[in-house]
């Protein structure tokens, strides 16, 4: 039973207020893209045992979409942040790096 803090309205939202929206920071491929690009955009998903960036909607609350960085093994939430970004915020990346040295997730991995 997760709690995620909605970065818009500030509510510590119960899981029952939220709708999960799958992996975050996908790049959309439309007409003109290759079969591989389109396939990966639609179906290939990070499915790590560990840190995961994902989309949520405060559906039974303010209605806003937001992003969360969460561990799929411990359910630890490193933070939530705006959905209006194509990459995680540096603050979140630093937070994760401090707690999980060596974590990887697409190109946003901790390079140190």
């Amino acid at each position: 039973m997760l709690i995620l803090e909605c970065p818009y309205c500030g509510v510590k939202a119960e899981e029952t207020e939220l709708a999960a929206g799958g992996e975050a920071h996908l790049k959309r491929f439309g007409p003109g893209s290759s079969d591989d690009e389109f396939h990966d955009y639609l179906f290939m998903r990070e499915n790590p045992k560990g840190v995961h960036f994902e989309r949520w909607r405060h559906a039974n609350g303010c209605g806003k979409w937001f992003h969360a960085a969460r561990c799929t093994m411990t359910l630890e939430v490193f933070g939530t942040y705006t959905a209006q970004t194509s990459v995680p915020t540096q603050e979140i990346i630093d937070k994760i790096a401090a707690k999980r040295p060596g974590w990887t997730w697409r190109e946003f991995a901790d390079e140190k």
Binding site: M1, L2, I3, L4, E14, A19, G21, R28, F29, G30, P31, G32, S33, D35, F38, L42, R55, R57, A59, G63, K64, W65, C71, T74, L75, E76, V77, A83, Q84, K99
Partner: protein, 1010 residues
């Protein structure tokens, strides 16, 4: 035989006698009794039968861990099987029946299983009943099913007479357990100012400390408990709840409390159970410990009881458990039972202590009373029967050759204590093996982790493996302070209460009694009482390779009974470890899962049942529909009338009438459920061009356009008419039930992909009542209303042409009229304010009388559209259909570079000419094609399945055309016009249908363009 003592019984009120029945026999108890204590007071030692062998069983414990004394309680709509006698408070009129026997508790035919137990070992059913095959389903399994199960099932028509409710609570610190450790922890936490909730499963506070004795702050435990409770009750930041069990700990500090409000007073009104949904920053588990049985032959005979439980019965309820009692132990604590029994005047025949050197001060105290203590000894066997009669005593370190046999009618046993680590473990808290106490205790360095990655559960007292009042209270105070601090409330120093209790010497881990018991004894030595798992069963499992603790559990069913192994798990693990020549911590435990103790499904379901199971959305015209014959069908969260039946008319007749009348005269449809989304902003046109396959940005103000929406995967997801309201405003209609989904879909794209686009979306579905006025007389009725009001909107063909909309007055009503048609008739969909919906409907019905007005329902809507070949989302589409399949190429804008789904529709399988295409279907004989029928082709595929070439998507009887009409998707369909294909029905009939144009009626569209 057990009886009531003349004195003792701190929890009972002898001035209040209570009448109850057991197996139909009248009995008497006292207020404060549990059902178990009351039965014992009435000499009823045998209380049930075991699961597998149907052996006679008595109560073995005094709390929720009880595996044997399960009862069928209550009658009628308050009947409930499998209630523990130990947690059932006695009330006047209580009616209990023992279970799992036939014909009676005393004489049970299935106790034949006991005689056959040598054959019915662990896993016997995996090795038998294999041949001949049909016998398993028809003979063996039914027999097994009948003999298994515990209590009788509730009546098939039972409607629970009670109600249940849910309750939310937010706490900084949740303390689970109201024993002295819980109270001490609560006190320490509360002192910091934290908001504290304390849950106690029993109807009394203080746990077992008052029974076990010792002093706290120099006073009796009872006095300290009363004082501490009073202090806590005085604090505004503390909430105390008894009869409320902490039943589960879940992620991120979620916890469940299970409050039993009226189980002890049925019919008093109010909910029976209340499920507390708790969010806590920190949780203190002060859940105590459970005593373990000793594993000796006949340890399941009625009259054999856990030593501390027997003590509870004496001290709490004034029960004399027997005339002559043998106490068997591997630790000092059980000597307390001997002392309590002695003090109550019960003869303690022997104390049998497995330790060669015996115990400490408590043993000396027992000896001083003249009780015989035997060291290094064991119980070889308790004689089988419906009650203890004889106990054979032998050397612990032997094979069970009895040295002495004593007469006794009760046995108190103690194999040591196991902390209740369930709640600690539910969410991933890890355990360590405590060698000294031979138990698993919480590993403080590996707690369950919360949302911030830090531990959120703190174990306290005996639940943390701390025994002895002094250590326990100190641990609890520290736990309370630690939890408060972690919750953000720095601790004020609260000194722990000073506990003093008799010093105890080292216990001895004894997993089998005697240590080298032979196979005959081991086959009579129970580990799991309820499921009839014996030492020999676990050993067999290990021998056969079921080495993992999970394999052993599942092969033998150890720990899978309704007590979930509370008594049996550690003893079973130890036997397994021994069989594998391994150590207990290496073998490990099975997983602890919620709930700690079974909780009612009623409580989990809560208030939401019957009428309020799920909310029903109603349009402004719903009540009128209800009063005028609506035949409802659920559509998403809404209910819509399938048809509006006249008295005595069935739904099919009604539909035929509605269809004909709408085509010939005038029909009214409540279309308010259609979604209405306002999309507004400088970028709204651009946005809608992405959402719809059509071009919406070029739509002229005042005009309407039918639009399609696809998923990014290319499949049709919704459709509806879009109207351009002004320069930067569009109103998008969605399907019924689609409004929220499509609104969410639009928001998702606006917020997460095109967040720089300036667009707002508002769902105004419920702000309007929308009524479709349909049929040749549609214009007449509107004009009549306008005439009556002396003016209004010009609804003429010229002023309001097809696929346009206007705002204005219709009659007395402010309205927006759309000239759109889903029926092929002259049709206006008219939106008025929701608050005026019923009045507008009434006005139309009244004015329409002379024009033959009739309301119609969803089925007529479907038929009218099918006659016209219009697709229906959910019928012609199913999530695998693309617009191209439906011949909707005209709705796919060629001018746009992009729309959602466009790229997907370019994939190889999407442009495959073999895809099934939309056609009309007409049976050769005019009959109606069956719903969902498939058309078959030649031969079979590689998996032997008949090749299929198409399917029916919609099929109706058309009253207009007086024949069956259908739409379907058929391979190469549009190229096969006129061909007859075959649809085998599930009724054995093969339907032959001709492929035709899907537009069956008014192909030129003349009727809607008038």
């Amino acid at each position: 035989m057990s009886t009531r003592l003349a004195n003792q019984g701190r929890l009972i009120d002898r001035s209040k006698q209570i009448d109850f029945t057991f197996n139909g026999k009248s009995m008497k108890g006292f207020a404060g009794d549990t059902l178990a204590s009351a039965l014992l007071a009435n000499g009823q030692v045998m209380m049930g039968r075991s699961f597998k062998y149907h052996r006679p069983r008595g109560v073995v414990a005094s709390g929720s861990e009880e595996p044997n004394a399960l009862m069928q309680l209550g009658v009628g709509d308050r009947y409930e099987p499998n209630q523990r006698a130990t947690t059932t408070e006695l009330f006047s009129g209580l009616s209990a029946n023992s279970q799992n026997h036939w014909p009676s508790l005393e004489f049970d035919v299935l106790s034949i299983n006991n005689k056959l137990s040598r054959f019915l070992t662990a896993g016997f059913y995996y090795k038998m009943f294999i041949h001949p095959r049909p016998l398993w389903k028809h003979v063996y399994e039914p027999i097994i099913r009948k003999s298994a199960g515990l209590g009788a099932a509730p009546d098939k028509e039972l409607k629970d007479a009670d109600t249940y409710e849910h309750f939310y609570f937010f706490a900084d610190v949740l303390v689970i357990g109201g024993g002295v450790a819980g109270l001490q922890a609560a006190k320490a936490a509360a002192a910091s100012g934290a908001k504290v909730l304390v849950l106690e499963q029993n109807n009394f506070w203080g746990g077992r400390a008052p029974v076990d004795g010792g002093t706290i702050d120099g006073d009796t435990p009872d006095a300290w408990i009363a004082k501490t409770l009073a202090e806590l009750r005085d604090m505004d930041n503390v909430t105390l709840r008894d009869r409320c069990m902490g039943s589960g700990v879940y992620d991120h500090g979620y916890a469940l409390g299970y409050e039993r409000l009226t189980d002890h007073a049925p019919g008093q009104g109010g909910p029976r159970h209340r499920l507390w949904r708790i969010r806590a920053s920190q949780i203190v588990t002060a859940t105590g410990a459970i005593e373990r049985p000793l594993s000796f032959a006949g340890n399941d005979v009625p009259g054999v009881m856990l030593a501390a439980s027997m003590r509870d019965y004496v001290v709490n309820w004034g029960i004399n458990p027997g005339q002559k009692v043998v106490v068997a132990t591997n630790n000092d604590d059980a000597y307390r039972t001997a002392l309590v029994l002695h003090e109550a005047g019960v003869e303690v025949v022997r104390v049998i202590d497995t330790r060669e050197t015996g115990g400490g001060a408590l043993m000396e105290a027992v000896r001083e009373k003249g009780i015989r203590v035997e060291l290094g000894r064991a119980i070889a066997k308790v004689k089988d029967g419906k009650c203890v009669t004889e106990v054979a005593i032998c050397a612990q370190n032997g094979e069970g050759g009895a040295r002495e046999t004593v007469q006794a009618d009760a046995v108190a046993m103690s194999g040591g204590w196991s902390p209740v680590v369930h709640l600690w473990s539910h969410c991933g808290g890890k355990l360590i093996w405590d060698e000294a106490n031979a138990n698993f205790r919480p590993d403080a360095s590996r707690p369950p982790l919360g949302h911030d990655g830090n531990g959120f559960v703190v174990p306290a007292g005996a639940a943390n493996g701390e025994f002895g009042l002094a250590a326990l209270l100190e641990d609890a105070a520290a736990a309370g302070a630690k939890a408060a601090e972690a919750a953000g409330f720095p601790a004020k120093s609260v000194a722990a209460a000073k506990g003093e209790s008799a010093a105890e010497l080292q216990m001895e881990a004894v997993w089998l009694m005697p240590a080298k018991a032979d196979i005959k004894l081991r086959m009579k030595t129970w580990l799991d009482y309820q499921n009839d798992v014996k030492v020999s069963d676990v050993q067999l499992a290990a021998r056969e390779g079921y080495e993992s603790v999970e394999h052993t559990k599942r092969y033998t069913t150890l720990g899978m009974a309704t007590d979930q192994g509370k008594l049996s798990n550690i003893n079973g693990l130890a036997i397994l470890a021994d069989s594998l020549n391994s150590e207990i911590p290496q073998v490990g435990t099975t997983t602890f899962r919620p709930p700690y103790h079974p909780i009612s499904l009623g409580a989990i379901a809560g208030e939401a049942r019957a009428e309020i199971f799920q909310p029903v959305r109603k349009t402004p015209i719903a009540d009128w529909m209800d009063q005028n014959g609506a035949d409802w069908e659920p559509v998403g969260q809404w209910r819509r009338p399938f048809s509006i039946n006249k008295p005595g008319e069935d739904r099919h007749a009604a539909v035929n009438r509605e269809v004909k009348n709408t085509r010939e005269n005038l029909g009214l449809l409540d279309a308010s459920t259609l979604g209405k989304l306002v999309v507004k902003g400088p970028d709204a046109g651009k946005f809608l061009d992405m959402m719809y396959t059509n071009m919406m940005s070029t739509l002229k103000i005042g005009k309407c356009r039918y639009g399609l929406m696809c998923t990014e995967n290319g499949f049709l997801m919704d459709d509806g008419v879009v109207a351009r309201i002004d320069e930067d405003t569009w109103l998008c209609h969605t399907t019924t039930g689609g409004a929220e989904r499509i609104h969410g879909w639009m928001e998702e794209w606006l917020q997460t992909e095109w967040w720089d686009w300036k667009v707002y979306v508002a769902n105004v579905t419920e702000q309007y009542a929308q009524i479709a006025v349909v049929g040749p007389n549609a214009r007449k009725v509107l004009e009549k209303l306008n005439a009556a009001a002396g003016g209004g909107m010009d609804v003429s063909k010229e002023a309001l042409p097809f696929m346009e909309w206007r705002d204005g007055k219709i009659g007395e009503f402010d309205a927006r009229a759309y000239r759109i048609s889903f029926s092929g008739e002259l049709s206006y969909e008219i939106a008025v304010a929701a608050s005026e919906g019923q009045a507008f409907w009434d006005a139309l019905m009244e004015a329409g009388k002379e024009f033959g007005v009739m309301p119609y329902g969803t089925e007529t809507l479907h038929i009218l559209r099918a006659e016209k070949g219009f697709i229906m989302i959910g019928d012609e589409t199913d999530g695998t259909v693309i617009p191209q399949d439906l011949g909707l190429h005209w709705a796919l804008s060629k001018k746009k570079e992009d729309y959602l789904g466009k790229r997907a529709q370019a994939r190889s399988h999407m442009v495959d000419p073999e895809r099934w295409q939309l056609v009309g279907l007409e049976t050769v004989d005019g009959s109606v094609l069956p719903d969902g029928a498939y058309a078959v082709g030649e031969g079979v595929n590689a998996n032997g399945q008949r090749n299929m070439i198409g399917r029916v998507t919609s099929t109706y009887f058309s009253a207009t055309l007086n024949k069956g009409i259908a739409m379907g998707l058929v391979k190469h369909g549009p190229k096969r016009m006129g061909e007859v294909i075959e649809f085998p029905g599930t009724d054995g009939v093969t339907y032959k249908a001709k492929i035709v144009d899907p537009v069956f009626y008014d192909k030129e569209g003349e009727k809607q363009n008038v």
